[in-house]
C-alpha cells in the first residue's frame, strides 16, 4: 500500500493581510461615500424642505401653520445657516397673522442678536409693527432714533426717512415731513416719490378742512349746529331733536314741581348735551382725517416692503402690503 500524502494548503500570510486591508478600505470608503454625506447633508436637506414647506404655507396665506412650521425648524435645525432666515420669516409671519406683540418680540430678538443677517431689516420692520399697533408717537420716536444708526444698506435709512415723512404728513406736520423727504438720497428709488410729495405739500394747506373748535362751539350753542357745519345734517337733526326733547321734558318736570323727575331727566340731558358737543368735534376731526387721506392717496404712499423684507428676493416669497 502506498502511503497517502495529505494535501495541505497553506495560505500565504501576505494574502490574508491584503484581504483584511481591502475589507477595512471598503468599509472606510463606504463610510465616506455613503454614510457621512447622508449624515452631514441629509440633515440639511431635510431642513431646507421643512423651510420650503413653511414658505408654501405662507404663500397660501395659512400663516398660523407657517408660524408653527417655522418654529419647528428653529427648534430642530440648530446651527443650520437657514435658522436666521427662518427667525426673520417667523417675525414677518406674525405680522400677517396679526399677532403684533409676538412680531414685536421676535423682531427685538433679531435686533438684539449679534451678527444676525437680518438685523437691519428687522429694525425697519419693527417700526411697521409699532405703527400697526397704533403706537404713532412711539413709531416716530423709534424711527428718529434709528436714523442715528449707521446702516450698511443705505436703502434702509432712506426708507426710515420716507416712513417718518409719511407719518408727519398724515398728522399734518409739514415742516418735519419736508425735512425727512429732503434727506432721501438722489440715487434712491424713493427719490422720485419724495420729490412728488414735497411739491404736494404746497397744496395741502388749502384743503377744505373743518375747524373742530368751531364745530364744538356751534353745537354747544345750538345742539346739532356743529354737525350741520361739518356736513352731517342727519346727525345734526338727531342731536337737535334728542337734546330738545330731554331739555323740554326737564323744564316741564320742574315747572310742574316734579323735581325728582326733573333731576333724572336733567342728568340724562347733560349726557346727551356733552355727547353732542363731542360728536360735533369728533366729526370735524374725522372729516379732516378723510380729507388728508384722500389727498395723499393720489401719491405713492407705499414703501417697497417686498424689497425691504425680501432682500433681493433671496427669501423666495413675495409680500404685498402697505407700510
Amino acid at each position: 500500500m502506498g502511503s497517502t500524502k495529505s494535501l495541505k494548503i497553506v495560505k500565504p500570510q501576505k494574502q490574508n493581510f491584503n484581504s483584511l486591508f481591502t475589507a477595512i478600505t471598503n468599509v472606510f470608503i463606504f463610510l465616506i461615500l455613503v454614510i457621512l454625506p447622508s449624515v452631514i447633508f441629509g440633515y440639511q436637506l431635510n431642513c431646507y424642505n421643512e423651510v420650503k414647506l413653511g414658505k408654501d404655507f405662507f404663500i397660501q396665506g395659512d400663516y398660523t401653520t407657517a408660524i408653527y412650521q417655522f418654529k419647528r425648524v428653529i427648534k430642530t435645525c440648530e446651527g443650520v445657516p437657514l435658522k436666521q432666515e427662518v427667525e426673520y420669516l417667523l417675525a414677518v409671519a406674525y405680522i400677517f397673522a396679526n399677532k403684533l406683540e409676538e412680531a414685536e418680540k421676535q423682531f427685538l430678538y433679531i435686533i438684539d442678536s449679534k451678527d444676525h443677517a437680518y438685523n437691519e431689516q428687522a429694525a425697519i420692520m419693527l417700526a411697521f409693527v409699532l405703527e400697526k399697533q397704533q403706537k404713532l408717537t412711539s413709531t416716530k420716536n423709534y424711527l428718529s432714533n434709528l436714523l442715528g444708526y449707521n446702516f450698511k444698506d443705505a436703502t434702509l435709512k432712506d426708507s426710515a426717512h420716507y416712513k417718518l415723512a409719511w407719518l408727519n404728513l398724515k398728522s399734518g406736520e409739514l415742516e418735519a415731513a419736508s425735512e425727512h423727504l429732503r434727506e432721501i438720497k438722489l440715487s434712491s428709488e424713493l427719490n422720485q416719490s419724495a420729490k412728488e410729495l414735497l411739491s404736494a405739500t404746497k397744496g395741502y394747506q388749502e384743503l377744505p378742512y373743518k375747524s373742530p373748535t368751531i364745530s364744538g362751539f356751534l353745537s354747544a350753542i345750538i345742539p346739532g349746529a356743529g354737525q350741520f357745519y361739518v356736513g352731517r345734517p342727519k346727525d345734526g337733526l338727531t342731536a337737535f331733536v334728542i337734546n330738545g326733547l330731554f331739555l323740554g321734558a326737564t323744564i316741564q318736570a320742574f315747572d310742574h314741581d316734579q323735581e325728582f323727575l326733573g333731576i333724572i331727566l336733567g342728568a340724562l340731558e347733560l349726557g346727551w348735551y356733552v355727547g353732542n358737543i363731542y360728536n360735533a368735534t369728533n366729526s370735524a376731526h374725522k372729516h379732516n382725517r378723510k380729507v388728508r387721506e384722500d389727498y395723499w392717496r393720489g401719491f405713492k404712499d407705499e414703501l417697497n416692503l417686498n424689497l425691504l423684507i425680501n432682500n433681493k428676493g433671496e427669501l423666495g416669497i413675495s409680500f404685498g402690503f402697505r407700510f
Partner: protein
C-alpha cells in the same frame, strides 16, 4: 359699617332735596342708599365692573328683543364695553353717546366698510373716535 349719611355723594343729593315733597324725598333717600351701595360694590369689584355687568345683561336679555341690527362693527354694546374699559365711566359714556349720534349713513363718508358674517358693516372701533386726543404710547 359704612355711614351712608356722611357720604359726600349722599350729601350732594341731599342738597337737591330743598323744596321736594315728602314722598319724593323718601324715594330720593332710597335712591341715595342704592347709589351708595352701587359705589361700594363698584369699588369692591374693581373699576367698571358694574357697568360691564349692566351691558352684559343688556346683551343677553334685551338685545335679542330688538330686531334692528347695529350697522357698525363692533356692535354698540361691545363698543360701550370697550369705551368704558379704555376710558372709564365718564369719558366712556360720552363716547357711547357720540357713537349713538353718528351711527347713521353719514358715517360711511369717513369710516371704512368691512364685511362681517357676509354683511357690510361700518368699521368703527373706539380708536376711530378718540384718535385725535388719545394716543397709545
Amino acid at each position: 359699617m359704612l355711614d351712608f349719611e356722611r357720604s359726600t355723594d349722599v350729601v350732594f343729593i341731599h342738597t337737591l332735596l330743598i323744596g321736594v315733597n315728602t314722598l319724593e324725598k323718601n324715594i330720593l333717600r332710597i335712591l341715595c342708599v342704592f347709589i351708595a351701595f352701587f359705589l361700594c360694590w363698584h369699588n369692591a369689584h374693581g373699576e367698571n365692573y358694574i357697568s360691564e355687568k349692566i351691558i352684559s345683561f343688556y346683551q343677553e336679555y334685551l338685545s335679542p328683543l330688538d330686531t334692528s341690527e347695529c350697522p357698525s362693527f363692533p356692535r354698540c354694546s361691545e363698543y360701550a364695553k370697550a369705551a368704558i374699559r379704555k376710558h372709564g365711566l365718564i369719558k366712556g359714556w360720552i363716547l357711547i353717546v357720540d357713537r349713538l349720534f353718528h351711527e347713521g349713513s353719514e358715517e360711511q363718508k369717513v369710516s371704512e366698510i368691512i364685511i362681517v358674517d357676509g354683511k357690510p358693516k361700518l368699521y368703527d372701533p373706539v380708536e376711530n373716535n378718540d384718535f385725535w386726543w388719545f394716543n397709545k404710547k
